[in-house]
Amino acid sequence: MKKVLVLLLILFFVSGCLGSLGNTQQPPDVAYKRGIDINFKTSENQPPMQIGVNRDFYVSFDVINYAKYELSGNILIYDNWGEEYGNVQDGTSLSLEGESGFIGKKQTVSFGPFRYTDKKLANKNSNIIAEADVDNYPVEIDSSVRVKKSGSSMSSNLLLQAGMLGREASNAPITIDKIEVNQINLPNTNDVNLDLIIYFKNYGGQINNDDKKIENFNIDLIGGNSFDCKSYNEKDKFLVFKDKKDATIICSTSVDLGEQEYRDYPLKIKFSYPYKISKEISIKII
């Protein structure tokens, strides 16, 4: 009996170890900084964590672009108080250089002076929000799909994980997380039907249009026919992220392998979206 109990305990802990093993096999998403980031300069007291009524203060922050493309748009700053209290409200246009490394291109933005003028705000908090709106966040993914003549009608699966889709896929805030490739060899022909199940994921921020929709999506298999794409689940709208963090589509095409046993097809995917990210900081009015 004791042996059974020992075995049971070992199994229980092995299950935990398997879990951590599974974890290490996941693409190291956390290693990538994505999209745009905003960091308030609180170390320079901009904004200060406490501010008195009728005292001037400034708000500064770094806007960091992790994309390799130059991004343009607007930066806004506002708080949760109405104008009658002497609120924080300002904005300017934004032009961020792209960068080819992993550190990101930084631009420091400063606003102020601001001043809260109404004593009613004493002992209240002010939530200051910095918001970066980018007109067009582009994502281009270059990958390849190997299509094989298997000689049977069985489908085979190939998974392109985020790490295999290039740095752009890993850096974009709303991006392709993985692609599952299913191929079906039609009997007695050289034609292969190809289904690409493409999993999109929002890692932060939001698409800055009403439907939260990726509107410019293009997928091309160089040397193959054009793709026909639709939502994976019929009830979902195509590439709409409203109220959810992910979207899945399925793109289908067919290729003619001819006499070749296999062929590597370059896969090019391009899409872009207006993008918005905001950061909030709370300061105490005294």
Partner: protein, 498 residues
């Protein structure tokens, strides 16, 4: 050997189930563990002894029989020992566990087969989230509190206002003499501690009277040398005072017509010597008895109307030599101001429709700004954020604190200070003034110790609502009188001083 296989398969099934539905799996695992422990711990008892023997252990003991509880005569003996109900409950429990075990094995097995995770390799397993689930399970084993936050909708504790109670407490109220004759001057001594409300200097008026509405004069020591009959004390800091209350019945004469009976004067009998009763009106003199109350006689504790016949009670009291009288020491805050505010946030309907999550972000409790401690001044409106196309109520509640000593004796004014974007509907000020009159009437009529006052209400609509969430402050000032009473019961010998 079969039993070991069954147990191992059950454990594997439990682990599979745990990956898919951690709670169900763990419960299942727990059942297996309990079952095993029960089997291990079950004491030998004659023919019913159940032992778990590994094959080849060399022991001559009995072979393991799952869930064997006895057969034939043994079973009957056990049933007799345990009692019919207990026996069958035990049986049901055992078979219930067996059924759960079987269902678990089937369900776990089904999971393993349908997901084909053993066929599709690590990539497919990863896609199914197996690794992540096991990892998540391990994380939860390491951080057990994560279970609670995930499986129960943990509500944030309601942010209720923590107000330190302030005010006046009376201590050591005592009569100067052990008893008094009729028409003697009554003298009561006592002391009071006043907790000042720092940011709200206030004026407190002290007075005293007895339960027959004979008003006394109060002398206060420890504040100023000038003693007045009705003392006003300016309270700016915590203080302790001593006082003396003198009530001279000769200086207080009851109204009423001595030639008319109590009933003819619209009065009822109400025994003034009985501290459990109270005249909800005024005492008057009458031709038939002393204890005539013009109004209604109510129970001092429940406020219930008392309809005892006067003649019987009158005789009873008149035969008594001793009657009791209550002397009240009254401290009344005059024109005390409590100020509270409420953050009201708004956003355009268009943006609100886009983002329903905004509804959960706003805390909606009023905050006491000054004059906090005697009462609660509540301000409420609809669920926030508000928008431009609805008329919203602004509800103001001035609430007696149930567990504090005093109560609101009169509401003098309620001032509403609203932001620019608020458009008050109708004449709010006039409406509130009318409501104040009604509330004061409620205070005067109420027989409750601390009546729950009707709230004040105005309606408003928002103008100038933008696409960003913006907040404004609604500030309310309530000016009211607040009364704190202390009492002492004295004995009166029911005759004139010899």
């Amino acid at each position: 050997m079969i039993q070991i296989i069954i147990i191992l398969v059950s454990i594997l099934a439990a682990i599979g189930l745990t990956i898919l539905y951690p709670w169900a799996g763990l419960i299942f695992l727990a059942i297996i563990l309990v079952l095993l422990l029960m089997k291990m711990a079950k004491p030998g008892k004659g023919g019913n002894k159940v032992e778990f023997k590994m094959k080849g252990s060399g022991s001559s003991g009995k072979q393991y029989r799952p869930f064997a509880v006895g057969h034939g005569r043994e079973e009957g003996r056990e049933r007799a020992q345990k009692g019919w109900l207990k026996y069958w409950l035990g049986k049901s429990l055992e078979w219930g566990i067996v059924i759960i075990l079987i269902v678990g094995i089937i369900y776990g097995g089904w999971f393993l087969i349908t997901t084909q995770f053993y066929k599709k390799g690590t990539a497919q397993a990863e896609q199914l989230g197996i690794g992540a689930r096991i990892s998540s399970l391990w994380e939860k084993v390491k951080n057990p509190e994560a279970w609670a936050s995930e499986y129960y909708s943990f509500k944030n504790p309601e942010a209720t206002e923590q107000v330190v109670k302030k005010g006046i407490t009376f201590n050591n109220l005592q009569s100067v003499r052990p008893y008094y004759y009729n028409k003697d001057k009554i003298e009561i001594l006592g002391d009071a501690h006043i907790d000042a409300i720092e940011e709200t200097p206030s004026k407190v008026v002290f007075s005293c009277k007895d339960d027959e509405n004979n008003v006394g004069k109060i002398l206060i020591y420890g504040v100023s040398e000038d003693l007045q009959e009705q003392q006003e004390v300016n309270v700016n800091e915590n203080m302790d005072i001593n006082f003396k209350c003198e009530i001279d019945p000769k200086e207080n004469s009851l109204s009423g017509d001595i030639t008319q009976t109590c009933e003819e004067q619209g009065g009822v009998f109400c025994n003034r010597g009985d501290i459990s009763k109270r005249c909800n009106g005024e005492w008057v003199v009458s031709s038939d008895f002393d204890n005539c109350c013009r109004g209604s006689c109510v129970s001092a504790t429940t406020g219930e109307k008392i309809t005892s016949t006067g003649s019987e009670l009158s005789k009873k009291v008149s035969n008594n030599e001793i009657k009791y009288k209550i002397v009240y020491i009254i401290a009344e805050y005059k024109d005390f101001i409590t100020k509270s505010d409420l953050e009201v946030c708004s956003i355009s309907r268009q943006e609100l429709n886009k983002n329903k999550d905004l509804y959960q972000k706003k805390e909606e409790n009023a905050q006491c700004i000054s004059g906090c401690g005697l009462t609660r001044l509540q301000i409420k409106t609809s669920k926030q954020p508000l928008s431009e196309d609805v008329v919203y109520p602004l509800i103001i509640g001035l609430v007696n604190d149930a567990d504090w000593y005093g109560k609101i004796s009169k509401v003098n004014s309620i001032d509403v200070d609203i932001p620019r974007s608020f458009d008050l509907k109708g004449n709010c000020k006039e409406s509130i003034n009318n409501q104040i009159s009604s509330v004061n009437e409620q205070i005067n009529k109420s027989t409750e110790e601390k009546p729950r006052l009707n709230p004040f209400q105005c309606d408003f609509q928002l103008t100038d609502v933008g696409d960003k969430l913006k907040c404004s402050i609604v500030e309310i000032n309530a000016k009211y009188n607040y009364i704190v009473k202390g009492s002492s019961v004295i004995e009166i010998v029911n005759k004139e001083k010899p």
